[in-house]
Amino acid sequence: MELSQEARDVLETAKRHNRVRPEDERDIEEVIALLPDDRSMLYKNVDSNPIGDFYRYSIHIRVQHLLIFSTFLLLAFTGLPIHYNTAFWAQPFNAMLGGLDVTRVIHRTLAVTMIFAMVYHFFTIGFGSLAKLSARTFELRRTILPTWKDIRDFKEDALFSSGKRNVRPEMDKFMYKQKIHYFAAGFGNTVMVVSGSIFLFPAFWASILPPSMASNFLEMMRLGHPHEALLALLVIAFWHWYNVHLAPGRFPMQWTYLTGKITREHQIEEHFLEYLRCIVSMPEERRYLRKLIESKKIWGTQPHD
């Protein structure tokens, strides 16, 4: 396969970062040349280990995800009966927990746990990036930060979904959907923390805001807390769970959030640029590819059926 300019860049950078020896470099180039031009032939024919083939998320990220999603759901389950406290279902629920006042204490305790997970996350990505910077292996495009390429990927992926492209775009470790989701969650969490803090510390907020806008700000935050919570809950229920559980091919679930690994098929399909890094850093993956391409005869240009 002839690599695109972008993919070539990623490959060269990966070779540099991995300090590959000349014989490995030859091996890598041979394997790349053997790859089928139609990338879909590759991801449709590889074998995948359901619990994951390639390392993707560190234990810290997985723990943060567990903390965030468990506190998120419990915050929603305690927050909704606080907001809709007169609803028929809210009263027995609050009573079961020991009354509205107890529900509020639980809600706040969970909120502190979630804030802890957020801080933990900032430490992880902060120190992780510093470590990569000092090892000179930091790559901006490999991070979750949005780039112009994401807009192009989004367009290309939409064209693929509507049948105008045969193959999905070459996306990096984090595709556009994950970036949207990450920043939506980051924004949502920030809104929830700030707006939640106005319930606990109204005097603090009033003292730092100009008097002309303090009242409106606090009221907006009071409105925003349940609105944002409901939106987040619905986005999680309808979109995140769709993406990781319900989408065809992902059903009934992926193991990534527990094992931190992604399947080969998924990696090639949605994160091809990251897969190139795997080809560079994993000789055993190159051996596997050679065997696969040979046995299925899918090298180079293939006629489409």
């Binding site: 879909s40 032939m41 449709k44 024919n45 590889v46 074998d47 995948s48 280990n49 359901p50 406290n85 007169t86 009354g99 509205l100 939409a158 693929f160 979904s161 509507s162 049948g163 319930f199 109204p202 005097a203 603090f204 009033a206 003292s207 805001l209 100009p210 008097p211 303090a214 009242s215 409106n216 606090l218 009221e219 907006m220 009071r222 409105l223 925003g224 609105h227 409901l230 939106l231 619905l234 986005v235 309808f238 979109w239 769709y242 993406n243 989408a247 065809p248 091919g249 992902r250 059903f251 009934p252 679930m253 992926q254 193991w255 399947t263 098929e265 299925k296 005869k297 899918i298 059926d305």
Partner: protein, 370 residues
């Protein structure tokens, strides 16, 4: 047979009840109970309203007014049987029989009555027009029971008193009088909100007063029309509705806590500088609970609403939140549906048995070379 059993049960019940009810627990020196002890005592007014003149002796004997002879308040009764009552009781009447032990003068509610009359709620007993909407003493105060939960004062306390105060009845009276005041007899926040709302949530009544104020060129509070509903919408309102005693209720802000029991009778409009919610006193009032409150804090709206005429910012903020929320959700669900279409065409499907990533090594069969 069944009839017989019913009559027997009814007979036993009436015996038991008759036994439980003490004959006459307060001294009826004026013989008012001669007539007023009959439950059917009453009449139907010209307007068709049923009026009961029944005095339940066993209940009245436990109320705070039980030692006040009837005619101390009903002073217009001169003979028996008496003439039709026209003016009724006013609460500033001086008692002839009860002395204020601190001054030796006849007891009277006059001081608090006068304070009430100067308040924004002040009115005469017989009021006309819009003044008749205002609360009179009895709208808020019934003739409350002494220590409703206690049948009798605790024996171990009375026993101790009678060592010196030979008259056990005196000890009981004294116990009732003081213990009721030592115990907190304030209404609960929920009761206070309900009490105030019984008028301040009555749109028709409020409209009447607003129209009158407009006509007379009188100023009304900015939240006059929505005081009750906006309170319920506020954080304080939500908390107290759900039973919290810590959240501010109407009187916590509109009455002065320094002299609470007097102050609740002399409520003033917020534009009166003496009101605890006036611009001058507001910070201090907030500080009662929010110890860190400052000038800025006192400017926060304690009666928030999303009504366009009240807070146009919040009105549009709420609309924006709803629109943005729904649009985002619709877009994401649309994207998911669009993607599903593409993925299904690409050969992946929802198969659980043969295609799941859970236990099979691949999820596709189309375009897969065997």
């Amino acid at each position: 047979m069944e009839m017989l059993i019913r009559w027997c049960v009814a007979g036993i019940l009436s015996l038991l009840l008759g036994y439980a009810a003490p004959a006459l627990a307060f001294e009826d020196d004026e013989a008012c109970l001669m007539c007023h002890k009959y439950p059917k005592m009453g009449r139907i007014t010209e307007e068709g309203q049923q009026k009961s003149y029944y005095v339940m002796p066993h209940v009245f004997s436990k109320t705070v007014h039980r030692n006040v002879p009837c005619r101390d308040c009903h002073g217009y009764i001169k003979e028996l049987p008496h003439k039709p009552v026209t003016e009724g009781v006013t609460c500033d009447t001086e008692c002839h029989s009860i002395q204020n032990p601190s001054t030796g003068k006849p007891f009277s509610h006059k001081p608090i009555y006068d304070a009430f009359k100067k308040s924004v709620h002040g009115r005469e007993k017989i009021a006309e027009g819009n003044d008749a909407d205002k609360p009179y003493c009895v709208n808020c105060h019934t003739n409350p029971l002494y220590n409703a939960k206690e049948e009798k004062p605790p024996k171990h306390i009375v026993d101790r008193c009678v060592v010196c105060h030979e008259d056990a009845k005196f000890a009981e009276k004294w116990y009732n009088h003081t213990s009721r005041r030592i115990r907190e007899v304030k209404r609960s926040p929920q009761e206070i909100v309900e009490m105030c709302s019984s008028c301040h949530a009555d749109k028709e009544m409020l409209g009447r007063h607003q129209a009158a104020a407009k006509e007379e060129g009188r100023e009304l509070g900015r939240k006059f029309m929505i005081a009750a509903e906006s309170y319920n919408e506020s954080f304080h309102g939500k908390l107290s509705k759900y039973g919290s005693d810590n959240a501010a209720n109407c009187l916590d802000c509109h009455a002065n806590t320094v002299n609470y029991y007097l102050s609740v009778h002399e409520l003033l409009p917020s534009r009166d500088p003496r009101s605890p919610v006036s611009a001058e006193n507001r910070v201090q009032t907030c500080k009662q609970c929010h110890v860190r409150a400052d000038e800025n804090y006192a400017k926060l709206d304690p009666h928030p609403s999303s009504k366009k005429e009240d807070n146009v910012f919040k009105y549009y903020a709420e609309i924006t939140y709803t629109v943005v929320g729904n649009v985002v959700l619709a877009m994401l669900v649309g994207l998911a549906a669009f993607e599903t279409w593409g993925r299904l065409r690409d050969g992946v499907s929802w198969r659980f048995r043969d295609g799941s990533s859970w236990w099979r090594r691949t999820r596709r069969d189309s375009n897969r070379i065997p």
